[in-house]
Structures are given as C-alpha cells and as structure tokens.
C-alpha cells in the first residue's frame, strides 16, 4: 500500500488530486483552484462527499484545480482513493447523476461515417465533442492514454458516459488490448454505452472473450452492447471473416493502418498501396459477415483536401466510415459521403421505373430501352436512403 498517491493532469478543466494516509480519522482538504472564488465551496463539498461515499477517512487531500466539472473531480478523487486503499474501496463507486437521454439505444446498422477519437484522460475535449456532430464518439482508453494515466482514465470515461451530453452520437469506448482490456469492462458495461472497440483483434476468440465477459457482467439489462473489432495486424486481416462472424454483437470491422503497416514491415504512405490489399480484404470479410467495414483515421489534420480524397477513395473501396482524430475532420468526411446530385437523380429514375414495373405487373424494370438489374436497384435504394439522411431534394422533378 502506498502512503501518497497522485492522480490527474495539470491542465485546464482538469485537476490533480493527491491523497496521503494520515494517522487521525479526519479528512483534511487543501484546495488550490483557479475558480476558487466561484466554486471553492462546491469543490470542497464534492471531494468530501466522494471520499465519504467510498468509506475513506483519515486522509490528507491536496487538490490543484483548473476549472474541472463535478464529474471530473469525482472521477479523479475516486481513482486516487482506489489507488491509496484498494481493498477498502474495491466494492464501492461514486457515480455522477445520469444525464437524461444518455441511455437511449442506437440501431446496429446505424450510420457510422465518422467516429471521433477522444483521449480518455482529457475531459476538456469530451465536453465539446457533440458540437461537431460526429456519428460516433470514441472515449479512448488505449493508445491515446499514457500507461501511468490508464487507471484513472477508466473512471473519467465511466463518468463521462453518464454526465456528458454527446447528443445523438453513438457512444463508443476503445478498451485496452486484451487481456488488459477485459479489466476495463466491469466499470463500463452498466453505463450508457453502445459499442466496445476492441483494438488489435487477431482471432475470433478475442471477440468471443469480450462478448462472454460482457454477458457475465450484464445479467439483467435488455440493452445489447455492440462490438467493433479493429484489425491492425497481418494476423487480424488473415482472420477477418472469423472475427467479423465470431459473435452476433459484432456490428462493424475497423482498420488500423498505423499498427498494420508496422506489423508487415512497411512504411505508411499517402497513396496507401501498402495497405490496399488488407483494406480490401477487410471490406470483403465485413460484407460477407453482414457488418460494416470502417476505414482507418487520416492523420494529417491540417490537410482537408487530402482527407476528402482519402475518404472518397475509402468509399470507392466499399467502406462505410472513416475515423477522425480532430473535430474539424468530421464535416469533410460527411461531405465525402454525401451522394452527388447526379447519383440522386439517377436513383430517382430507377425508383420511378420500379414503380412503373409494379403497375404493369411484369417485373421488368427498364429506363428507356435499357434493362435495370437488381443490384442497380439495390444501389439506387441505398443512394436514396443516404440522400434522405442528408435532407437532399427528392422531389420528382429532380429525377427528370
């Protein structure tokens, strides 16, 4: 057992909590805060209540705060308490009130064009994420969090799921690589969470282990937690179909280019020839298993034209989405997925031809003298669904 533990970050909208065991039974709080004038009493109260609910007394607390919200303070204090007295506090948790609507379900085949990565130890980025309207947010416990911060990040992510307004975005958490990732699950699965991202998935068994663990932990909830394995190694790609079809909870397969290129001994390039085959195989496996193929992130944040081109290329390969590491990438990705006016006009023509075929009752769909095959009809329907999503003009004149 340590005598002193420290948790948190010296950063805006965050805080550092230092807990020290003392001999007495009283709790002493020393508070330094940039917002002490406004929230000094409130911060004291939140720290004290959190420690009380965890059953901790006889500690000295030093707080250095830079405007952290209540749920952040609670998460930092709780993480510090678990580190200081693991046995004593193991069975206890201090959960912030759950925001209304946070536990609203999402459909398994929903739009996943954009998913915004949010480092699991940076509350300031979480608070504003919904403003940029991503299809999904990913609270990241894996690569975005340095190893010494990982333990505390789990509590921050748990509290964020309850207290932060992510709007209509799908709420995803990227857990750590297995086996460590299994230990992330107990604190998360009872929270308003839609999807677990499993990094470096290499075998169907990896997915099964996560699905199995979730089922053990969640015994009485009707809500399903989806799984999105990330393939970022040669072995993962070789086993793509087995991974995609391992469990019914899998809704998508994502590609991770950075680790993949390193794994095969290549260098990542703008053209991406080194990962072309792998990405195509991922698309094939995902489609074969009936789940969504999702492409890797585009890492040159300042290059909007490059992102647009890369997203269009991903769409051309058959991907349904792309990762974002910066909020300003979201709009560009959504723009790339928007069907062209020409595609929409053609889709409307196909739809009209279908309607005419139905009226005639002969089942032969044709535009002029050209016969339309069923896959073209299916594609037209996909385009129209997407166009509707983008509020595009679908009035009959458009197709004429």
């Amino acid at each position: 057992m340590q005598d002193t533990v420290q948790v948190g970050r010296d950063a805006r909208e965050d805080l550092v909590v230092e807990l020290t065991s003392s001999s007495g039974s009283t709790t002493e709080i020393q508070l330094h805060s940039t917002v002490a004038t406004f929230f000094g009493a409130r911060i004291q109260q939140v720290v004290r209540q959190t420690l009380e609910q965890l059953g901790l007394e006889g500690v000295q607390v030093v707080v250095r705060d830079q405007g952290a919200l209540d749920w952040v303070i609670q998460a930092r204090v709780e993480a510090a308490a678990h580190l200081l007295r693991p046995q004593q506090t193991a069975q206890r948790a201090v959960l912030p009130p759950m925001l209304e609507g946070a536990d609203r379900p999402v459909a398994r085949d929903r739009m996943r064009r954009s998913r915004l990565y949010l480092p699991g130890d940076q509350p300031d980025l979480m608070i504003n994420a919904a403003l940029f309207e991503p299809d999904a947010v990913i609270l990241d416990l894996e690569d975005a969090v340095a190893p010494p911060q990982k333990f505390a990040a789990r509590y921050l992510v748990r509290n964020a799921l309850r207290a932060v307004d992510f709007g209509p975005a799908e709420r995803m958490v990227r857990i750590n690589q297995l086996p460590r990732g299994l230990a992330d699950l107990p604190d998360l699965v009872s929270q308003p969470l839609h999807t677990i991202l499993l990094p470096k998935a290499e075998r169907g068994g990896d997915v099964a282990a996560v699905a199995q663990r979730i089922r053990e932990l969640v015994t009485n909830s009707p809500r399903e937690i989806f799984i999105m394995p990330i393939l970022e190694s040669a072995l993962g790609i070789e086993n793509a179909l087995a991974i995609a079809s391992a469990e019914p909870e899998v809704v998508a397969l994502a590609f991770g280019a950075e680790d993949f290129t390193r794994d095969i001994g290549a260098v990542r390039t703008d053209e991406g020839r080194e990962s072309f085959v792998a990405r195509s195989r991922l698309v094939l496996a995902a489609r074969a298993a009936g789940v969504q193929p999702i492409d890797t992130v585009y890492s040159d944040v300042g290059n909007e034209a490059g992102l647009l081109a890369a997203t269009r290329e991903a769409i051309a390969l058959g991907f349904d989405g792309k990762g974002c590491i910066h909020p300003r990438q979201i709009r560009t990705i959504h723009q790339a997925f928007r069907p062209s006016e020409r595609d929409v006009a053609y889709a409307l023509k196909v739809q009209r031809a279908m309607a005419q075929a139905e009226v005639r009752g002969d089942g032969v769909i044709a535009i002029g003298s050209k016969m339309i095959d069923p896959p073209v009809v299916a594609r037209a329907q996909r385009v129209l669904k997407l166009a509707e999503f983008y509020h595009m003009d679908l009035s009959p004149e458009v197709g004429r």
């Binding site: 929230f39 830079q66 952290a68 504003n128």
Partner: protein
C-alpha cells in the same frame, strides 16, 4: 477611500468625484451634451526651437528640459504592444530623479509592463488612466493604487485629451523612424510597428512632446504621421521597441476547434443577416480574427466585395485586400508584421487617427459606418449589457481598447465560448457594465446564438436559418447546466478603485475593491 456614489442611467453606483475632479454619471447613449470649447496646447514660437531637436543627454535630459515635476501627467502610445521597450526605463529614470505622484496615461498596457508595480508601490505613479490588466489590474483591484484608475476606450482617450479632461503634461512618442526635427512614422526603420495613430493626440495636445527613436533619417522623414511642428525634443535610443512582440496571444488566430466553430457561426450569421459585403471590423482575440477567413470564403463564393475593413490589421486582412475582396484597410494598429508591411507598401492600406475613426465628441466618426463588428467580452448578461474589463471575479483584466467604439457598427457581434474553465460568460448581471444593452446586437457562442430582442429586424432576417438561434436566457441556462451555479465574489461596495468611462466622458460603472 470612501466616496459619494450616485446611480447612473444603467443603475450602477458611480462616484461623483474621481481624483479630485467632478464626474458626469452615464446618462444613456447620446444623452450627455458637452459644452464649452476644446482644449489646446500652449502657443509655442519658432524662436525657441531649432531644426535639430536631438537631445544629447538622452531621455533624462529631455525630461529635465520639459520641466518634469511631481504630479505631472505622462502619455504614451502602445503601438509596440508587448514589445514596448520604453515605459520601464522611463519610470526607472523618473524614480531615480525622485519624481513622484505622476499620472500615467498610456493608450494601453501589456504583460511586459508588470514591473511598473514597483513604481506604483513606491508612489512614483499615483494612478493610471488607461488600461490595467494582469498583475497591474490585480494590484489596482486590491485597492493598492494611490489614486483611482480611469479606464477609457481608444476613442475615449482622444475625447478626454481633446476636451481637456485628460491634460497631458509630457507626451512621449516612441517612433521607429524620425528626422532631427521630429517628423516621424511607424513603417520604416528596423523597429517598424505600423501606424502611430494612438500617439497623435499626445503630439497635438501635450504641453511638451518628446519623440524617441532608434532610426534617425535626414529631413524630411516621409511619410510624417507625427509632425515635427508638434515636437519639442528628439531622443535617440539603441532600440525603441521589439516589433516581433507585437503579435501577442490576443492577435493569433485560434486553433481550438470550438473557437473555430464559433468563428464559422459568425461568418454564417453575417451572410444570413444580410451583411456580406458590408464594411466590417475585426478586433483582437482568436475568434474575432478567425472569422475573417470564413467571411473571406463566403465573399469569394458569392463574388461579393466590401468597400473597406477596419483594422487592427493582420496578414488575413492584408490577403483580402490583395485579393480585392476589400477595397481598403482603414487601420488603427498593426497586429502583425504583414500588417506593417502592407501599410507601408499599399496605398489602399491607410493609417487612421482615433480622432477620425473613434472620437465621439466630433462631427461624426467612421465607427458608425461599419456594417458589422465582431469583438469578444468577458461577460454579457440577460439584458445584453457587456463587460470587457473585469473578470467575473471582479479583478481588472483587460483594457477597453477600441471595444466600446466599435459597438457603434450597425450590427455588433460578441463572440466567445459559453464558458471558460467552468466560468460561464453569459451571466444574470455583469460585474462591470462597459456597454449598455442597446449597443450589443448579437451574442455568438458554440452552444447557440442569441439576438438582442431590440433587433427584431435581425431576428426576422435569420428566421428559418440552420443557425442555432436561441434566447439569451437559454444560453444562460445551458451554461449553468454544465458548470453549476457559481458563488458571488466579495467586493467592497464603498471602495471604488477605478471607473469605466463611456465614449462621451460619462462614468458608466465603477470597479470596486475585491476581497474582505
């Protein structure tokens, strides 16, 4: 200091006397009627002045020749911003000369001026009339300044000097380029900093004028924004200022995605409210600078041009001028070196005096010919009154700058994040009223845009827009839901430490001592 206070037209208690001088309480926009005649400097004669005004003994000798003594008022401009190299040696010299109780009236102060505190503590400086920010603002807010501070806008400083309310005994004008007679400009020489407009009033109205330069050229120094006929002494120094430090935190375009989103909302609002192609003004501050690039993209897409833009000039404004998106830059100060170069080289980029751009006691100024002005604020309240000088903890944090003056644009937009590190910006009642309700038209935040109900025309124009238009009350509640309810800071309401002037010399609010 206990003072007699009266309630003014915005319901704020203001002292009737400040530093021994009678004050007019704010009476409403356009309600105060000035009387009398403008002030003027003493009449000089050529008999006393040679064509070579260089002083051998440096600044100290020049001060002695000006007859510097206790209680005098010294003025200086702030065009070097955080790269000023003159103010600290000036007061070190005055301290060494054992001069005390001076009134210091700079057009603005910056973080580099923090060491002035020792001269405030020792009594060399009695009080500051200008801007007080950072540690100096804290010093004043804690009631440690001998006299009462007076904060004025850029236009208000000119009005006060011209009206004789702020009499400058010695005006000190740092200039990047000058001739021995005292003609000077800010665009040539190794320390070129842009316009010198904020020093014009000092040159015209001070009893004594000392021009300080590090680059003397033979007569005539052209262009001559400052004219030798107004100058008593020319002092040569090794370096007059560091132009690389003109660019400060408030003059850099933001990279924060949230602030960029706000800037995009501002540009979209300008277009949808019908102001695309109208003259516009950008203030300092990340968002106010960032909206320019989004505005430029919209103007380009629609093929629209604006007749002029009002600087603070930056590389972004200069690019719009070069591209033909704006017809001219009417510049008050340069915020970066691209602005300095453009002012020197482009005849459509013009230095303006705050006398023509901002002075409210004049026969019109061009601030009211601007279509849309985008500025920041530290707080705005449910009545659309805004604060730019104190934080909500009561500490003086910023000067007013041109902020009050720019609000005379047809559409004034305040743009800021709804909260900063847990502190809500939309509040029930601002700590310090720097502008009354009728001066603020729109508040743009990342979580919604509120339009002053007085501007029904604007509300109509953006009806049906995709912009997140909400009420100011809704913004207030959104901030509260995230941040919680802040406690009210403690202020000593019988101890004024500074007053805020409206553009017409009246006192719009008081800054009180903070703490117990």
């Amino acid at each position: 200091m206990s003072a007699k206070l009266v309630n003014n037209a915005v319901g704020r208690p203001v002292p009737v006397e400040v530093n021994g001088r009678e004050q007019h309480p704010f009476a409403g926009v356009g309600q105060f009627r000035p009387t009398g005649h403008k002030a003027g400097p003493p009449i000089p004669t050529n008999a006393d002045h040679s064509n070579d005004k260089r002083v051998a003994g440096g600044l100290k000798q020049a001060l002695i020749q000006c007859g510097v003594r206790d209680g005098m008022t010294l003025g200086i401009h702030h065009h070097f911003r955080n790269g000023d190299l003159l103010v600290l040696p000036l007061f070190d010299t005055l301290a060494e000369m054992e001069i005390k109780d001076l009134v210091f009236a700079p057009s603005a102060l910056f973080p580099c001026h923090e060491p002035l505190i020792r001269h405030l503590e020792s009594g060399v400086i009695h009080h500051i009339e200008g801007s007080m920010n950072g540690p100096i603002g804290r010093f004043c807010s804690q009631g440690r300044m001998k006299g009462t501070g007076i904060l004025r806008s850029h236009g208000g400083r000119f009005q006060a000097i011209q009206d004789g309310e702020l009499h400058i005994d010695i005006g000190i004008i740092p200039a990047p380029c000058a001739d021995p007679t005292g003609n000077a400009n800010g665009v040539q020489g190794p320390s070129a900093c842009g316009p010198l407009g904020f020093g014009l009033a000092d040159s015209l109205y001070a009893d004594h004028v000392i021009l300080v330069t590090d680059h003397v050229v033979p007569f005539p120094c052209i262009p001559w924004e400052i004219q030798g006929q107004n100058v008593d002494h020319v002092v040569e120094v090794e370096r007059v200022g560091d132009p690389d430090k003109i660019v400060s935190g408030t003059t850099q375009v933001t990279r924060s995605p949230t602030r960029l989103l706000i800037a995009e909302y501002v540009a979209q609002f300008i277009e949808e409210a019908g102001y695309l192609g109208a003259p516009f003004q950008a203030g300092a501050g990340g968002i106010a600078l960032a909206f320019i690039q989004f505005l430029a993209a919209r103007m380009r897409a629609r093929g629209v041009k604006a007749p002029f833009a009002r600087g603070g000039s930056t590389e972004h404004l200069v690019r719009m001028l070069d591209e033909g998106l704006i017809g001219a830059i009417l510049d008050g100060q340069s915020f970066d070196l691209a602005g300095v170069a453009s002012l020197r080289d482009n005849p459509r980029h013009v230095a303006t005096s705050p006398l023509t751009s901002y002075n409210y006691h004049s026969k019109g100024n061009f601030a009211s010919q601007v279509g849309v002005a985008v500025v920041g604020a530290t707080e705005v309240d449910l009545q659309f009154r805004a604060n730019v000088v104190t934080h909500s903890d009561g500490l003086l944090l910023h000067g007013i700058g041109g902020w009050q003056n720019t609000l005379f644009a047809d559409c004034s937009i305040l743009a800021f994040p709804l909260f900063r590190s847990r502190i809500p910006i939309v509040v029930k009642e601002v700590m310090t009223v720097c502008a009354p309700s009728e001066m603020i038209d729109v508040v743009v935040t990342e979580r919604g845009i509120a339009i002053n109900p007085r501007r029904e025309d604007l509300l109509d124009r953006v009806k049906g827009s995709s912009l997140p238009i909400v009420t100011i009350e809704e913004l207030y509640h959104r901030a509260r839901r995230i941040c919680g309810e802040p406690e009210a800071p403690v202020r000593q309401m019988d101890r004024p430490v500074a007053v805020i002037k409206w553009v017409d010399s009246t006192v719009i609010d008081t800054v009180f001592q903070v703490g117990d």
